[in-house]
Amino acid sequence: MNDLWNMLRGAARGDRADPQDRTARDAPTQPAIIEASDLTKTYHSHGIEVRALDGVNLKIASGAMVAIMGASGSGKSTLLNCLAGLDTIDSGRIHIAGQDMAEMSDRARTALRSQTMGFVFQTFNLLPVLDAVENVELPLLILRVPATEARRRARALLDAVGLAHREHHRPAELSGGQRQRVAIARALINDPLIVWADEPTGSLDSEAADEIMHLFARFNQEQQQTIVIVTHAPEIGARAGQNLLMRDGRLV
């Protein structure tokens, strides 16, 4: 497992472009960390078929900040879920840092997620039973990082997102913006290659949304993480380096 981890990190980090060179990251000229070809996915229910992904092809460069945009029902969240290995595809290929996701077992996909990815969702998806710092350190526990080290890093990240004073508050005791900041800290705690964010500002007011996007931009610049954001809001898309527009299950 560690070999996989090192290999992935090497593949991803070794060829990273200069963080200041936005052009290089904006266009897929850098080695692609996410590569998908001919993705299809169809939902079936009681004889009705809905094609959610219809031959999607894309490449996302390492360290890029990409917004996948489109109207409701266009398939953008499905695309994110499939790319992140949260959902399966009917056909096509997905390569994450050179690894073919379609060929992987569920076990390997899960391991890949825990080591290389972070997630932020519209509904925050924090575990209500854990307080802020426990939520943040959870991915490190899965990776078997020593408890004291995990706690130190979680605190540091909470500090970085401005919530050091709320570390022992449970999600129910935090505001929406604060919860999303905890979620971002959790997404970044394992130093992921890719952060997936599905409508991360959808439940927030404009001020909180702005704060969140600022955090994404900051981490993208400082940590060189690839950030893929699904959104239908043009103002969010405008802050990403690259926009992909989806319509009827296709990238247009």
């Binding site: 959902d87 076990r107 997620r113 209500p128 078997r144």
Partner: protein, 1096 residues
């Protein structure tokens, strides 16, 4: 009673159904929404229905088993008394002869009575000795019956098993019909010659030829020889005389006794003074049912606990359903739905679940009851117990209706409680914020102070004041104190105990409120945005401490040993299942309350351990945190498992304790196989038996390993150094043979100076005056000092019966222990006071010996002096020294035992007692029945009656053995409920936490890790609950048993905890939890992360 209950329950069910239908017709939305919810998730609907079914399953199973048990007990009782429903007899002593004309009058009066099937004037001679000279077998205590067959009807039906003449009319003067019982005992066949001896024709023998072997006969399973009335009148020198008129009612032998009172009244009208009509069958059935009462009480206790468990299960189901729907309910409320309308929608839906569950539940319960009884059949087949599953339609209807109504009631209460929600919090699926109820004094003002207030507001405020008063502890405190005072005045321990519990609860609430009030003042100094979180945290802390204290109080109060309770607390028990039930429920409540509220603290060590569990660390981290967070669910889960385990432990202990005296035959028999007694002339002791056998039957002699003998002596005993020095009664036996080597009499304590048991027995043999005594003679403290669990004190029969297997109703002289002629003669020599004592068991208890000064300061048994004298009064007293205690933990043997030389001085000048009982222990390979038969044959000249002890004990205890087997299996059903509850809880948990599971999967939890998380959670709850239930069960059994449930002082039952069974219960409970978690865990692991994220 049952019929009126059925009417009531059916009426109530119909009314409830009509109300629901009217609701539905009046509001189509309710019906539409309910049906939609009902169909929406088939798995969830199925789980709920199965959960609700369990209510009716348990009640129906218990009802079926109870009905079967009652039927079986009745059948046995009726089989014992036979076809006779009523019997006319003359008051007075002796044979009670009266002219046959009385019988004729009764016959004439009842000739046209449609309720009567047969009348038979009869002469019955009891306690005869029958010798089958062909088979060379002897049997005592046989009834000899002569009957006028003209109008006998079913009474003449002997259900002949042979083809020989079997009707009374066909019997010749020298003919006899044997009923099955006596025929079996004598191994008799048609054509055998029998000789009958009786004190009614002393010096003569009635010689008869067996012409038929009958079935039960008019006197049922009582050993009966039927002979022509004239033959019996002739030999008894009572021509034209009878002493009974037997009447058989029409109809089913089981139900015929229902008309006995009417018939008795009719007969009484033609009888002269001095005659009475005995309701033979009704009395026998009532007596048998009262003997069944102990098991009935256990069954009632089981049903009560089953209902309590059901309540928890239903609350769990609907509380979880309400939690799942919280967001929907919040939305409906936001759009203008009244709370009442929400309740209506959910209640209608719940009624659909309940209605669907009731019938299958009742049928399943019935089937389960049938299965339990059927499974037991092979186990009890050797007892010859009539095992017919009985299902009365009326019981079924009652179960069905009550199950439905009970479930619906609990459902309604749960829904009503859970429908109260904060709309904003529900909409965002956030926890409810702290209460914003008006201040207490404002409510008070509105309720009573302000003028012109609307009555609705006034009422609501008044309820608010009451509620506030409860939460602040004032009302519980006042209620508790006044209840205690009233209970003390009317001597009601149970009410007093409840008052004490409520009072302490009030004090805890009052302190909680005061501490919280004080904390709130400090928190006011914090920043505004921190106050709410701070006060909520403080409240949680205070709640933890208060529940910990109150829970611990409940456990300690109900579980404390009687001795401590006597000094510290007012009386808690006065003997009854409701107290046992209440104690059990409150103890479990106490430990669950304290445990569930403080789980996060209690789990700290486990979490620390989990943090060191390497690869499993994150699994332990998540698995251990959910139970502490979901306190309600965890609490109900813990309570369910705790209650299930508690009930199983208590039930297993109760049934084990009650059945031990029936089940462990070798304990009861002391290892002896045959008991024998010479009924016609004294045999002359063990040596004479051995000599006789050596001469005539070396095969039998070789098969015998040990022979012992005992003669009961009527002695009074005094312990001069005892706490209660005074003449007291206790069984005493003069023993000889292998008894004096300890065979069948294991010692449980030896006096100082005796290194081995053999040394004790050598002293008893060789030093007149040295005796041993059984543990039942010890005072409780002395027994405790010696580490002996003493049984209850001896009962009446032990005073005139042999030291081992005294309750055996087999050997003739034991069957009528006190009324046997010899014993009667013996009693006539005693003072009226002693006679009164021996006929009054309650008074006997007060005068029973309780040795209290046997041990020294180090708790060692010292040789202890007592004095004894024969209570027939010859002014001879002798000093005895007790040097050993015979093990009698299960009350199987009683007496102070010594040699002939020890007791001889006391018997000087008194009529000798020749009533010797001989015990034979055979070599392992010997055929016990065959040896019993040959022994009787070899010693025929002495009228030597032999009985196979184990068989007689099994016959005697068949109903109890059966009941025990049934109860043990019924208790096992409880575990189904616990398992189902865990499964339901687990499945609900998967549904509720689908999104969180998805997130964990997204973060990197493997499928097996998710499964393990669920396993850890469930096993934690199951193990915690099981341990709590086990602890509470053992505590209550140990400390409450003797004083309460089985009323040990009267029944002579000692608590015997079945450790093996309890270990099995623990293992099964944990295994059941593993099974319960399997499906939810599998479901959880199959949750696709992306789908879970979408799930709402």
């Amino acid at each position: 009673m049952t019929t009126s209950l059925a009417m009531l329950s059916v009426t109530a069910t119909i009314v409830v159904v009509i109300i629901l239908l009217v609701w539905g017709i009046g509001d189509a939305f309710i019906v539409r929404q309910s049906l939609r919810n009902f169909q929406r998730r088939p798995l969830r609907t199925m789980v709920i229905i199965v959960g609700l079914m369990l209510t009716t399953v348990l009640i129906a199973a218990a009802s079926t088993v109870n009905a079967t048990l009652v039927l079986a007990v009745k059948t046995v009782a009726i089989a014992n008394v036979g076809r006779v429903d009523e019997s006319v007899l003359q008051n007075g002593e002796g044979l009670g002869l009266f002219p046959v004309q009385i019988g004729t009058t009764v016959m004439a009066r009842l000739a046209q009575d449609p309720l009567v099937a047969g009348v038979a004037p009869s002469l019955r001679i009891d306690g005869a000795l029958v010798i089958d000279t062909t088979q060379r077998q002897v049997r005592g205590s046989v009834n000899i019956l002569g009957m006028d067959p003209r109008q006998a009807g079913p009474l003449r039906d002997f259900s002949a098993q042979t083809s020989a003449p079997s009707t009374l009319e066909q019997l010749g003067a020298g003919d006899a019909i044997l009923n099955a019982s006596v025929a079996t005992a004598l191994h008799a066949s048609v054509g055998d010659h029998i000789a009958i001896y009786s004190s009614s024709w002393a010096g003569q023998a009635l010689q008869l030829r067996v012409v038929a072997i009958g079935g039960a006969g008019p006197l049922g399973q009582q050993q009966t020889v039927l002979t022509p009335l004239s033959t019996l009148q002739h030999i008894a020198a009572a021509p034209g005389m009878i002493n009974r008129v037997y009447i058989a009612n029409v109809g089913n032998p089981l139900t015929g006794s229902g008309e006995s009172t009417v018939i008795a009244r009719t007969i009484q009208s033609v009888l002269p003074p001095g005659f009475q009509v005995q309701l033979v069958k009704a009395d026998a059935v009532n007596y048998a049912l009262s003997a069944e009462t102990l098991f009935g009480r256990i069954l009632n206790l089981y049903t009560l606990f089953a209902l309590a468990i059901d309540v928890l299960l239903i609350v769990l189901i609907f509380a979880l359903l309400a939690a799942e729907r919280r967001m929907d309910l919040g939305t409906l409320r936001a759009f203008g739905f009244q709370r009442g309308q929400l309740v209506e929608v959910m209640l209608f839906e719940a009624a659909l679940y309940n209605a669907t569950a009731a019938l299958p539940g009742a049928l399943a319960g019935l089937g389960l009851g049938y299965l339990v009884v059927t499974l037991i059949n092979p186990t009890v087949a050797h007892l010859g117990f009539p095992l017919l599953v009985r299902v009365r339609p009326v019981d079924f209807v009652v179960t069905l209706c009550l199950g439905f109504l009970f479930s619906l009631l609990i459902t309604a209460l749960t829904i009503s409680a859970t429908s109260k929600l904060n709309i904003a919090a529900a909409l965002h699926n956030a926890p409810d914020p702290p209460s914003t109820a008006p201040h207490f004094h404002e409510l008070w003002q509105t309720a009573v102070g302000r003028q012109h207030e609307q009555w609705q507001r006034r009422l609501a405020s008044f309820v608010g004041v009451l509620w506030g008063g409860c939460w602040r502890g004032f009302i519980p405190l006042a209620f508790g104190l006044s209840t205690m005072a009233l209970a003390a005045r009317h001597d009601q321990p149970l009410a007093s105990a409840i008052g004490a519990v409520v009072e302490i609860g009030g004090i805890v609430l009052l302190l909680r409120w005061l501490v919280l009030w004080r904390a709130a003042r400090d928190i006011q100094r914090l920043r505004e945005d921190e106050r709410l979180t701070a006060i909520e945290r403080k409240r949680r802390q205070i709640d933890r401490v208060s529940t910990m204290f109150f829970g611990a109080y409940l456990v300690v109060y109900w579980g404390m040993p009687p001795m401590i309770a006597h000094y510290l607390a007012p009386s808690r028990f006065n003997g009854g299942i409701e107290e046992f039930f209440l104690a059990g429920i409150l103890m479990v409540l106490g430990i669950v309350l304290a445990g569930a509220m403080n789980l996060s603290w209690l789990l700290t060590p486990l979490r620390a351990l989990g943090a060191r569990s390497g690869r499993l660390r994150h699994i332990m981290f998540i698995g251990l945190i959910y139970p502490a967070y979901q306190r309600l669910r965890t609490g109900i889960g813990l309570a369910l498992f705790a209650l299930v385990t508690f009930v199983m432990v208590v039930m297993a202990s109760l049934t084990n304790s009650t059945s031990q005296r029936y089940n462990d035959i070798s304990q009861l028999t002391g290892g002896y196989d045959i008991i024998g007694q010479s009924l016609s002339q004294p045999i002359g002791g063990i040596d004479a038996i051995q000599r006789k056998l050596a001469e005539s039957d070396t095969h039998t002699a070789a098969a015998i390993q040990n022979i012992s003998a005992a003669v009961e002596l009527p002695l009074a005993i005094i312990e001069p150094g005892g706490n209660d020095a005074g003449w007291r009664l206790y069984p005493v036996a003069e023993v000889s043979g292998d008894f004096l080597k300890g065979a069948g009499l294991p010692l449980v304590a030896r006096a100082q100076g005796y290194a081995t048991d053999a040394a004790v027995w050598a002293a008893v043999r060789d030093h007149p005056g040295d005796v041993v005594i059984d543990a039942g003679a010890l005072a409780t403290d002395e027994a405790a000092t010696l580490g002996i669990q003493a049984p209850g004190p001896p009962q009446l029969e032990h005073f005139a019966a042999p030291p081992i297997a005294a309750t055996l109703l087999g050997p003739s002289s034991l069957e009528s222990a006190i009324s046997a002629p010899q014993t009667q003669a013996l009693l006539r020599q005693t003072s009226p006071e002693v006679r009164a004592l021996l006929s009054q068991p309650a008074q006997l208890l007060a005068y029973t010996l309780r040795l209290s000064n046997l041990t020294d300061a180090d708790g060692k048994l010292q040789p202890t002096t007592v004095w004894a004298e024969d209570f027939r009064g010859n002014a001879q007293a002798a000093r005895m020294t007790i040097i050993g205690i015979v093990n009698n933990t299960q009350g199987q043997r009683y007496g102070m035992l010594g040699t002939v030389a020890t007791f001889a001085p006391l018997e000087r000048g008194l009529t000798g007692i020749s009533n010797s009982y001989y015990y034979f222990q055979l070599r392992p390979s010997a055929d016990v029945s065959a040896i019993a038969r040959t022994l009787s044959s070899d010693l025929l000249e002495y009228g030597f009656e032999t009985t196979v002890i184990s068989q007689a004990l099994r016959d005697l205890n068949a109903p109890e053995l059966f009941a025990t087997q049934v109860l043990l299996r019924l208790v096992g059903l409880m575990l189904f409920v616990g398992t189902a509850a865990l499964m339901i809880s687990g499945l609900r948990s998967v549904v509720e936490r689908r999104q969180q599971i998805g997130m964990l999967r997204a973060l990197g939890f493997q499928r097996w890790e998710i499964q393990l998380v669920f396993f850890v959670e469930t096993v934690l709850v199951a193990f915690g609950g099981t341990l709590a239930g086990l602890g509470m069960g053992l505590l209550l059994c140990h400390n409450g048993f003797a004083l309460t449930f089985t009323d040990a002082t009267q029944l002579g039952i000692a608590l015997i905890i079945p450790w093996g069974t309890i270990a099995a219960i623990l293992l099964i409970a944990i295994a059941a939890a593993a099974v319960a978690v399997a499906i939810p865990a599998y479901q959880a692991s199959r949750v696709p992360p992306a789908a879970a994220m979408r799930y709402e």
